[in-house]
Chain length 618, copies 2
């Protein structure tokens, strides 16, 4: 219980939010990261330091959670961290194992096959595992909270592994103040625990997160936080993970929101940071109705901290660009790569990927490969050279004509005839894929794939050709946004890193004479909003037509999206920047005979093909 002698004073709680970039599976390393944050929070005189959701395992650990040895490492790391706490209370995310002392039983149940283990599997993981935080101080774990609301939609599968927290809520008395703790999704719903903690006597609610970035997500979080602060009637301290993990980028943006909905302190997006703020808390109007576990007493009164400056809000382009840079840097760093190779065609997509790579890795770690064919324009070659020069990356030119002729001869031998046009187009693209992979093999550089979301959606790419590589930097960036990001980066640089010609010429794959994208696809200004309606919002053809788009375009795009599912399934991972990327967000069958018949055209439209790859799945 708090010391009521000070009930007429404002209590002060110094809160530190440690916006960490953890690594999935690196339990020992994550514990070191947490301990280093804890040491800094102690130096700052914080009463409480909060780390992101599942800080010790990294987020999301996925099916590592079915390995008993992994669960055991995570519990050992929590003991280690708790043992090193002193005055400052640490709120540390970990995986709790409940209802058994036997971790092998826990995970064997969760993992196995067969009747016995299948029965166990269903109950196994969700019955035994909890997405948890421990509140630690004075060398021990004072209490544990289990996440109550588990996201199981979009990219999230938490009900696969975790059961929800149940039973009565409780508070923790930290620095003489009743604090409630909660985890991520717990914040997103009105009937969730945040309001209940506030009504039950919490004077601050801490919410720890691993909330992935998407365009506009920051604004949503602020809206939600304002609602929860109003329900709880007290400040909320929100800490979010930062960094890339496979397709997800976590943007940080941790903040403390006061009881009036004002942002008191905040961390920048896309960087590791520690936000420290003094909360001046009015006396509780009445005794808390929820029981409170004593964790730590008040520190001596100190000079208050000056309110820290708030980070500047980023433009949409700056935010997306920041996500791409961090996502690329972390994928390479966490997987042991220092360098990347990019095929530079002189087009806008490969230009943006080279920009991002140079910013993420440093230009000396980015290697351009120009692979002109008989159809490549002189302008494309000089644009690639100008870009490489402006970025300061090296560029090697390898004309593919000799391989094109040799492989064309082999294909003719296999077919007993000259390869038809589309086959020959794909052949050129695949020769480039093979070259890039050979460089990757020999040098140990990862291939950065240059396809954008508009292409991925419509299948306008060659499987194992331009879609080949280790990481697809802009796979969730629609073509129209690719242009905006290049212009944005040029503006920041104050000079044309991307040559003006690249920004203004008609997009072309240059795989046959005079080819232009708009011979196969609608103009991108039309295609991108149609894709957004069909894919991100799951609208029917009739709805998109009703919104004013030409029926034959919408129908054709819908068919292209469906028939390209098999190609997307083989595409490399890449950075999610939207609320619905291709991948875990959108789980469509490949074998799928659903035909949206919502729009009935006045006369039947002819089938059309915008596909550069007539291969499998069609």
């Amino acid at each position: 219980m708090p010391d009521r002698r000070y009930a007429s004073w404002m209590d002060r709680l110094r809160v530190a939010l440690c916006q960490l970039d953890t690594v999935v599976g690196d339990v020992g390393g994550n514990a070191e990261r947490v301990l280093s944050g804890l040491a800094r929070a102690e130096e700052e005189g914080a009463d409480l330091v909060a780390f992101p959701e599942l800080a010790l395992t990294g987020y999301p650990p996925e099916d590592l959670l079915l390995k008993p040895a992994f669960l055991a490492d995570n519990l050992a790391a929590l003991s280690e961290v708790a043992g090193r706490t002193s005055v400052c209370a640490a709120v540390v995310g970990f995986v709790d194992v409940v209802g058994t002392e036997d971790l092998a039983e826990a995970a064997a149940g969760a993992a196995g096959a067969g009747v016995r283990s299948r029965e166990a599997a269903v109950r196994g993981a969700p019955r035994l595992l909890r997405n948890a935080v421990a509140v630690c101080a004075g060398g021990r774990v004072a209490g544990v909270y289990h996440k109550r609301l588990l996201p199981n939609y979009g990219v999230f599968d938490e009900e696969r592994w975790f059961g929800p927290g149940t039973g009565p809520l409780g508070l923790y008395t930290v620095g003489g103040v009743e604090v409630g703790v909660s985890i991520c999704e717990d914040l997103w719903f009105a009937e969730g625990p945040v309001g209940a903690l506030g009504r039950g006597g919490a004077r601050v609610v801490v919410n720890v997160n691993a909330s992935p970035y998407a365009v506009g997500r920051l604004g949503e979080r602020l809206t939600l936080l304002r609602r929860r602060v109003a329900e709880a009637g007290c400040p909320v301290a929100y800490v979010n993970q930062v960094g890339g993990q496979d397709e997800l980028v976590f943007d940080g943006g941790s903040l403390v929101m006061g009881a009036g909905g004002e942002v008191l302190a905040g961390g920048a997006q896309f960087v590791q940071a520690m936000v420290v703020a003094d909360l001046e808390l009015p006396p509780a109007p009445r005794a808390p109705s929820l029981a409170s576990t004593p964790v730590s007493g008040p520190r001596p009164r100190r000079e208050p901290l000056a309110p820290p400056p708030l980070p500047e809000p980023l433009s949409e382009e700056a935010e997306v660009y920041g996500a791409l840079v961090l996502g690329t840097r972390d994928y390479l760093r966490k997987n042991g790569f220092t360098d990347a190779v990019v095929g530079l065609s002189g087009g806008i997509d490969s230009s943006l990927v080279a920009l991002v790579a140079a910013d993420a890795l440093g230009p000396e770690h980015v290697h351009g490969l120009s692979m002109p064919s008989r159809y490549s324009s002189e302008g494309s070659r000089t644009d690639a050279e100008a870009l490489a020069a402006a970025l300061g990356i090296d560029l090697t030119a390898v004309p593919i004509e000799a391989a094109h002729r040799a492989l064309g001869g082999l294909v003719a031998g296999a077919l007993g005839a000259e390869p038809p046009g589309l086959t020959d187009e794909n052949l050129q693209s695949r020769i480039r894929g093979v070259l890039l992979m050979a460089v990757s093999n020999a040098k140990g550089w990862i291939v950065l794939t240059t396809g954008n979301k508009s292409e991925l959606a419509t299948g306008y790419s060659t499987l194992y050709g331009d879609s080949a590589g280790g990481f697809a930097v802009i796979k969730d960036v629609p073509k129209t946004l690719v242009y905006r990001l290049c212009r944005y980066r040029n503006d920041v640089a104050g000079r044309a890193l991307v040559p003006e010609g690249v920004l203004t010429k008609a997009p072309s794959a240059e795989l046959r004479p005079g080819q232009r994208d708009d011979q196969s696809l609608p103009p991108y200004e039309v295609l991108d909003p149609v894709l957004d309606a069909l894919v991100a919002r799951d609208e029917s053809i009739a709805e998109v037509v009703h919104a004013g788009f030409p029926a034959e375009v919408v129908e054709r795009v819908a068919r292209l999206v469906d028939s390209a599912e098999y190609k997307r399934r083989q595409s490399p991972p890449g950075i999610r920047i939207s609320a619905k990327a291709f991948g875990k967000d959108r789980r469509m069958p490949i074998t799928n005979r659903y035909l949206d018949r919502s729009y009935v055209p006045p006369v039947p439209s002819a089938p059309a093909g915008g596909d550069r790859d007539g291969g499998p799945g069609e």
Copy 2:
């Protein structure tokens, strides 16, 4: 309520189980399939016909469930089917939408992004959608049952879309007999609805399924059915879907189990079938405690059916081979392919794939491509020819030397040096991938990929090379089982379809002189059980070592499995035959720094590389 005048007689119920091969998304086609089964059941004089789980949408429909137009089509199809029922009651799987009349609201909630729709998303699909069966007769829907136990593990994500059935259980009076209905997972647990329906007065429980095949699954189902029959105290009629859907193969194996646990009737595995059986039901000992909805009255007494012959149980090899044939045939048929091309190396893997393809499609629809390099042995060429001749498939030979030289020159140009050994090995494999894809593009034949599970697990393959293609027939078949399946098929044929030399020579990729797999990998007799322990059972290194495998082998294999995750992510879909295939069964992060330190070697072991591809992700 049943007519109690006959309470001293045995009641007879004629049950038909319609083991259908539905198509995901093909709502209209599935309705036709159901109606055609219904017509046949009426002809057979059945009182009740049961169709598989979600028969109208196909299973699993995945995120098609977020499209309002799709949900509406499914409801319209149910009305159509119900309207065509007469005396025979039909138990028809469909997606029910509850709590709203507005399908657009339902699915917009389930699909969208943003604060409002994210709140709706969580509640949206699971709040509004149910995995359901309708009991229909006399032109109407008499009642609807909602699945109560939802699988959310392994390949299943049902909690992403569905909420569980709740509220009181009920019975349906069909042909004068109280019948309980239940769906798939409802059968798997002792505390589930099957026992409760029996205790509540059901005299038969119908269980409709979409239960994917795995080695040994049939035996498990029988074990479970015996337990549930004992709990329910009445017969259970089990109907299962048949056919391939992307990576899953459903094996059918529908059956009726009597109250004593005896199998009264059964459908063969891997074929469409209708099982019809007369159940002689003793009078109910007491009035049912559950309410029963009248559906249909008793038919006039007829001559009883002779008990149908039970299908012969299949050997493990016959079962797996049957799954591969059906999975391949259905993937091609449902995706509009008639023909396939296979790269024939003269090795065991491509031999098995050609066998399966010829059985699935007919030999005239299978096309072999032999692509020898400077390192290919004469034996391999003649083995490929002998196989093609034995199967009656065509074979085109295209030596890759010219392309190998030309591309080798380009790679040397890009590197400024001759390509190192591994790069040159991958180059040959990728040239073959490019050739196969070119044939696919030009001819419209799908490329069948020939990699096995042991390779996929350890990354012993070349990305975009031998792993390229549209469908990976044996990706879940370990190498030792590949041998067994070839011998099995030779035995069935009574002659050496696969030449004896292929079965006895040492496995080799033939990408350098004198290469053998066992220079890079442990012998397959050791590798396969180690993989099974590490991957399927999630055992720690220490546990596998404790089971008697050499520590340095187990450690090395564990590292190979982890580091090959990025390659597996880009592999084509293929048939799941085990309870834990790579894919939806095993959701591992690519970026994963977890190191199993459970086994501490006496002296540190040197790192080893069994990887043919030094590319991205390493």
